[in-house]
Symmetry: C2
């Protein structure tokens, strides 16, 4: 079982370019694409946001988080928490009790995501209106 987590899209850099054609302005194509994909890899997926929110709301214990998110399985939760930890968004603390208890909390770094989430949220709200409501 080798370190599979925290793979910050390494190889992709070459392939996901776009041939800009005419003299391409300074905003070089893949200087947009790569960072955006990095960011998306961290927060997209079915469970990342629910987990981040659950933890931010004070659910710290594994079971606690699991119960607070309908339909998630322990396997998936386990994996996602590892990912989030690898990306320094979540901190895992083990307490030497009997049996061991583990607490998950958001790191202060996680707060840097706020502006991103807010931008997505705003756009999502107005977009739903545009597509459905119209």
């Amino acid at each position: 079982m080798q370190m599979k987590t925290a793979e910050i899209t390494e190889e992709v850099a070459e392939e996901l370019t776009v041939d800009c054609g005419q003299g391409s302005s300074h905003t070089d194509c893949h200087k947009v694409i790569i960072p955006v994909r990095d960011a998306l890899d961290v927060i997209s997926g079915k469970w990342k946001l629910p987990i981040i929110i659950a933890v931010s709301r004070g659910h710290k214990r594994f079971r606690d988080i699991e119960r607070s998110i309908p339909k998630i399985t322990s396997k998936v939760l386990s994996k996602e928490l590892k990912d989030l930890e690898a990306h320094k968004l979540v901190k895992r603390t083990v307490y030497d009790t009997q049996p061991v208890s583990v607490e998950y909390t958001l790191t202060s770094y996680a707060a840097t995501l706020d502006s991103v989430i807010l931008a997505l949220q705003r756009w999502g709200i107005q977009h739903r209106k545009k597509i459905i409501g119209k």
Copy 2:
């Protein structure tokens, strides 16, 4: 073959909630999750960004777009363009030439994505530094 495109996550609304536990502040959980997922559905995925960028750079013809994006297949491009069109980000214009030619352009609405993309890009850049560079 029923309309599969432009599905703005309808059903999910119920399941993807988080039990907020203690008196949950006004930012209600799934009022964050649902819009964010809506937004992510539009721009995440392997090809959405490359396509948007390619089109914005003046690649209008199908073949032209296809050639400008390494490794994409016509099937995928076709599907993605339909998605983007359904979300009003891309406009498809058919010209009555022989044989027919088709042009894809960004709608003015697509510009509203800029702030979202910028937020993702900024965060992605600094995040890569944090994870790799550190």
